[in-house]
């Protein structure tokens, strides 16, 4: 290693512009999150109440703690909801700008597709597709570099997990055809 601290700053021509319009404000997201949490608290609370949430002779029943926790969660999110609604009138803080949202989607959508592909094609094929595709499309890296990197990485993972350590990963039709 060199003795000096190497600073790595990859120039990024596609960095999001600062003046990109806001898609959604933080307060709105907070409101939605609080509403979702409230719904979750209600569902779980109901289920625990059904399971039994009282304190019987030998201490609390299985649903006791989760039931009251659901109430606490509900209370917390209700408070958050009111706070968010009040804050909404005061300041508009940006949750995500349009440029940022586009970039987050650029990584989130492939990840989502990757999970779906893993389910049907097996993990190794899916990871090859993800790495090669992401490098080529999002990173604008040369096609041969993308394919090679994806192949080498996937192969290393395969050898490490499936061959050396016997950790069995989800497989798809390709592996079945090759007899693994």
């Amino acid at each position: 290693m060199s003795q000096t601290e190497l600073e790595i700053v990859v120039d990024d021509p596609t960095a999001p512009e600062d003046d990109s319009p806001s898609v959604v404000s933080s307060a709105t997201v907070e409101t939605v999150v609080c509403l979702l949490l409230l719904a979750l608290a209600a569902t779980l609370g109901y289920d625990n109440w059904r399971t039994g949430a009282s304190w019987d002779a030998t201490g609390p029943e299985p649903g006791y703690f989760p039931f009251y926790l659901a109430i606490i969660l509900g209370g917390g999110s209700l408070y958050g909801l009111i706070a968010a609604l009040l804050a909404r009138r005061a300041v508009r803080e940006t949750f995500v700008t349009r440029a940022q949202a586009r970039r987050v989607m650029a990584v989130f959508v492939p990840t989502l597709l990757f999970c779906a592909a893993t389910q049907f094609l097996g993990l190794y094929v899916a990871s090859f597709l993800l790495i090669a595709g992401f490098m080529r499309v999002v990173g604008k890296i040369a096609l041969w570099k993308s394919l090679l990197t994806a192949f080498v990485f996937t192969a290393i993972m395969f050898v490490t997990f499936d061959v050396a350590f016997d950790v069995i990963m989800p497989k798809g039709p390709l592996e079945a055809a090759l007899g693994r």
Partner: protein, 328 residues
């Protein structure tokens, strides 16, 4: 060329003493599914088998222990159920295959799996702290006289240990409060630390603390004594523990340790594993393990096994119903 290859193959087969049905063999690593946490009795048994198979070259493919102890072992059952037709997974089962579907309404039935063989029966012993009462009679008397109920440790809720505790209550008239721990090991140390008055652990779970003189076995829940006569402690062997019946409390319970394949395995696949586990039971590793853990040797397969399972299932069901552990 082809003929000579075949001849070599046949010779190799003979050397390995593979019987005539050598049709099917696993092509992938075989997963041995453990329905309990790391370090528990099932896990130890699985690792013993893994070692026995590897040391004696009983199988070409490696064996992988896969722990699926989630939800008190229900995870392993659902995993086996969903792996229908996959011959590279073997479940090492115990009484939970009867009890969990009853107590927790888990949609599982062992009849959907492919039975391979019953490989051992596990005993249950009533233990107390070595500072406590010395015989079962004294123990019961002390439990009855105590101002607050005696604390009985065990593994899990509404399972074999819990059922045994309820039966002990019914037969003796003493009251116990049952403390469900996560593992037999925990129940053992809690007894040593005097946080409970007794437990109903398997021999293997209390072996070490017994050897150290920290706990005392009161009686074994079987109709006959354990057969191993080698001294385990300074003065006692497993065979020196009286049965509970001898001591005047007629409660008996044995727990199976059996191997299952997922549903829809072919007869060839089944035959391969029957043969494999039969070979395992012949290894010295297995025999030493059985004696050390005071397991009752047994090897059942085919029709005998199914009949055994049916009877055992009926017994467990009636015990669970009587104890009031069947979920409505």
């Amino acid at each position: 060329m082809r003929i000579s290859v075949k001849a070599v193959g046949a010779a190799a087969a003979l050397l390995l003493t593979t019987p005539a049905f050598a049709g099917w063999e696993p092509t992938k690593p075989v997963e041995i599914v453990v329905a309990a946490g790391a370090g528990g009795a099932s896990d130890q048994m699985a690792r013993m088998m893994q070692a026995a198979i590897q040391k004696n070259n009983l199988m070409k493919q490696p064996m992988v222990v896969s722990l699926k102890g989630g939800a008190s072992g229900a995870e392993a059952l659902m995993y086996m159920k969903s792996s229908e037709g996959d011959p590279n997974k073997v479940l090492i089962a115990y009484s939970l295959i009867y009890m969990l579907p009853l107590s927790a309404k888990i949609p599982f039935n062992w009849r959907e799996l492919t039975p391979v063989s019953v490989v051992a029966l596990d005993q249950f012993v009533l233990w107390d702290n070595s500072a406590g009462p010395k015989t079962l009679k004294e123990f019961v008397a002390a439990a009855k006289a105590a101002s607050s109920p005696f604390k009985m440790g065990g593994t899990g809720s509404k399972r074999e240990d819990h059922v045994l505790t309820v039966f002990l209550e019914q037969k003796t008239g003493a009251k116990f409060s049952y403390l469900p721990y996560k593992s037999g090991g925990e129940a053992a140390t809690q007894l040593v630390g005097n946080h409970t008055e007794a437990n109903v652990n398997n021999p293997s779970e209390n072996l070490e603390v017994w050897r150290a003189g920290q706990v005392r076995p009161l009686c074994v829940f079987d109709k006959e004594r354990i057969s191993y006569t080698t001294k385990v402690t300074e003065t006692q062997s497993w065979a020196d523990i009286p049965t509970c019946k001898e001591e005047g409390v007629d409660v008996q319970y044995l727990m199976l340790r059996a191997m299952f394949l997922p549903g829809k395995a072919t007869p060839e696949q089944q035959a391969f594993y029957v043969d494999l586990f039969h070979k395992v039971t012949q290894t010295t590793e297995y025999k030493e393990y059985m004696e050390k853990q005071a397991l009752k040797p047994i090897f059942l397969t085919g029709k005998d096994m199914v009949q055994f399972l049916e009877e055992d299932d009926a017994l467990n069901k009636s015990l669970m119903t009587e104890a009031g552990f069947v979920a409505k």
